[in-house]
Symmetry: C2
Subunit: 594 residues, 2 copies
Amino acid sequence: MTDYQAPVRQMRFTIEHLADFKAVAALPDFSSVDGDTTQAVLEEAAKFAGSVLAPINWLGDRQGVKVVNDAVQVPQEFATAYKQFCEAGWPGIASNPEFGGQGFPKTVALACDEMWAAANVAFALCPELTQGAILSMDRHATDELKQTYLEKLVSGQWSGTMCLTEPAAGSDLSSLTTKAEPNGDHYLISGTKIYITWGDHPMAGNLVHLVLARLPDAPPGTKGISLFVVPKYKLNADGTPGEFNDVIPVSVEHKMGIHASPTCVLAFGGKGGSVGYMVGKPNEGLAAMFTMMNYMRLGVGAQGVGLAERSYQKSVAYARERVQGRAPGEKGRVTIIRHPDVRRMLLLMRSLTQASRAICYYTASCLDRSAHGTDAEQVAVWQARADLMTPIAKAWCTEAAQEATSLGIQVHGGMGYVEETGVAQFYRDARIASIYEGTNGIQAIDLVGRKVLRDGGATVSAFVTDMRSVDAPLANAGDEFAVVRKALARGLDELVQCSTYLLTAERKDPELAGAAAFDYMMLLGTVIGGWQLARGALAALDELNAGAEDKPFLQAQVVMAKFYAEHVLPRCTAYAAAVQAGSASKMALAAEHF
Amino acid sequence: MTDYQAPVRQMRFTIEHLADFKAVAALPDFSSVDGDTTQAVLEEAAKFAGSVLAPINWLGDRQGVKVVNDAVQVPQEFATAYKQFCEAGWPGIASNPEFGGQGFPKTVALACDEMWAAANVAFALCPELTQGAILSMDRHATDELKQTYLEKLVSGQWSGTMCLTEPAAGSDLSSLTTKAEPNGDHYLISGTKIYITWGDHPMAGNLVHLVLARLPDAPPGTKGISLFVVPKYKLNADGTPGEFNDVIPVSVEHKMGIHASPTCVLAFGGKGGSVGYMVGKPNEGLAAMFTMMNYMRLGVGAQGVGLAERSYQKSVAYARERVQGRAPGEKGRVTIIRHPDVRRMLLLMRSLTQASRAICYYTASCLDRSAHGTDAEQVAVWQARADLMTPIAKAWCTEAAQEATSLGIQVHGGMGYVEETGVAQFYRDARIASIYEGTNGIQAIDLVGRKVLRDGGATVSAFVTDMRSVDAPLANAGDEFAVVRKALARGLDELVQCSTYLLTAERKDPELAGAAAFDYMMLLGTVIGGWQLARGALAALDELNAGAEDKPFLQAQVVMAKFYAEHVLPRCTAYAAAVQAGSASKMALAAEHF
């Protein structure tokens, strides 16, 4: 029995129509991927998520994790599920075939990531981090390191972590102090890292920590940071795990959510240094880590989508069954799904979730087209768009997830606040997604500073042009689409205004980028979401006109686009006003007068 | 040591300038209340909240409550604090002097309620419920019942509860089934009630349950519900608690927050009926209960204000101390309060909190002027405005509290998600406020149906006229206020448009009121908040021009009004679009296609 059924139809529709699946499948690296293989993967993943991961989600929340004798303990059910997860080959679904991966495009694999997160986000973080570690090593490590580690990571036998944060170095990594001393063919790492997700656990045979640290002669700031791979157990000559490498989980955090995901304080090398090996070049560790980080950011966006979807499904089920109140034109009491305000909440959840999904899958598609493209010019175009999309996928989609999971509680009324109901867990679990892998404020600043201002608005302008091309088909689609067309056009106009404002006013006001970033990010994400839902409605209309069979599903795509145009796109006006307010009122008060 | 300092200066300013204190103090019932007595009450309450209630808030969250041998156990520290609370006379601060109360206006007492909630909302619910019970009995019970119960309730020796909800009767009370059988001079009550806040506990000598139940011959639906007072212990001839009255706390809920507030399932009369006495007339119990309910709704709004304020204070303290990143024009690393995006979050928290406070206190002022007025026409005016304001105070302010307490977590970054930091508790505790005492959706439907449509928009129109009168002084106040003036005028125009739309379109569309209610409530609340902050800015300007000494505080009032005009008032456009979207897209899908 499961209470999560992955929305395979909706995912497939999104991959095909909103994440340009044809263009991805046409890339040589993906020659063996087609609609049928994709469908098969999604269906198998849906089964696994629903039958293995979802049923232990609540148990994980209640039991949590703890440190006993310098080791993290997790629920036994998680270890069993992890074993099954690996046996089924899920860890390597999108990994490099050279190391045993199945080489599926991210566009497809991200739908699986969404399912794992929906079913059990605390569990999902473990393979998610491992994927990030694989990607970073695959791109930056020596062949020897790759040969030693990657196959084990791809199979899930070993798991990976990302060790960035220190007590005084969080959003700003420049002041990190963990040390790496050269020692023959390796380095000795010592220092304390905090907030290390799945930093210790007994589910894998070894843990592979990717650790940011400083060489003795490193320059200060971010230009003196190198990346090291530090295994939990040193490897024997035959590559099997041997002696303990002095990486001690000092404690785990007591968090508001994701209780079954151990968030560790890790002490490296307290007894003389943990053995580590450099990944990439000296002092260029941040770039190598950002490969992993950007990957993780999209994954966090997908976590938001998954949790929003899960909360939506539970809320719909409740609303269909809970009888309360009466309705115009009907006799007797009705189920609450009959009430317009409950429908407002459910449609808001559904349209925000689908907009988020379309944003995330599209980002994955941009990544696939840049990482696997063959035409240099096209690769550059899609890389730039992926860079633009990544902070939006992370930040906008997790803001949407907060809103959706909160609405899920609200649909349940008093029941929603009672933990046993389960929707409270989705809300608590979702709250971290706006924080980790770079807070949403940091994402927004990255978006405005590096992705919009740096190229003079070129990337965002090109995207606006693409988005405007949906206007003509919307006009042709008839009066029914007038509200979508109007709201989207207005949002796009506001976006262009705000981009121009930022590019112009920023020269005079050094605080502007930071002051306007969050609202600009929300504006851009809201417009892209509206564009995607409009494309979805048009694609659905085409299928309906072609006589497709699943009418209710396709009609729902049209309803979502309209609802979003009426209820979400108008928020653009508020975001635009906030962007154009500049920095004056924000900087007006002295710190002591807050 | 305390980490909550009640914002007495801000509260006093709000009472004086935004809740029309002069008009309240001019009422004969409040002849002994003036600025000095108000200041003294606020300062004493601030001390109590900061030194007694705030320090045990976290402990309450961790320890929670449980049922042992048919009785609820609470942390011993709570019982000690409750004793001190009663000894200091706080339960009766606003109660009828005839029964030992101090007779302060609600306009002042609500500031105390805000403090109790900010310091320890789980604790605060106990006296809050008691106040509601007092009010309902004072207005509807026989003199004999009042003589028997009120003094004990006003002193806090006994505490009160509100027993409405049953498993199948939540938002819709029409189907409640608890029975009341006549039996000589009393009734025998039997049935099960759920979600009973502080439904059992050992802090008071007796509990006084106000219970909705049906007489044997009662008509079905809401017109067959009567109200009864049912003590936990029957009274001896001398009025002291005697024999157990068969009210058993079967269990307490495991909730996401307010862990130290026991939310009970209560079984009444399992052994033949609990003795109860009717309050008010047969079959008119709902009206008597609504006296209590409306009182509680304003109290819930004040809980939102308190939790938002508490989270704000903690966030400011953290932002002033946490060093991270660099800033334009400054050497070295800076505290995060220097960053514009952190300031955006703090100012959003502060302006939403102050707008909420001003809305709640103003509602209290309307209530005081209706309940204690001497001119019948004026009483009617203020009653109508209080009726309009109550659902806004409850719903808008608790939505704002969700937003503010979420921002409080965000300011803290990863620390915010760790429970020991404390801001997560405020977020979890705040989430229930949008649900209990009638969900925010129910509040919005009450607002649109009973307070706007029923009188053809007369009450809201009169209020709009009042709010427009701030335009001229804003114009006179100079260019600095242009943004406030413009945003407020636009919001008011959108409000008028939407009111007209509702009044017109509702005749043709029976689903419209429900479909548009939530966004209309948000629109109206946002405009009223903007009006209040504008008034605050003008009052501050007057004081500044008169040479007042606390310039930073007064200048902050102006900054808040501007920030809110730039960042919050523009949301009105989105709410207005959603209202005017009507019900079509919401009602488009069949229930099975969600």
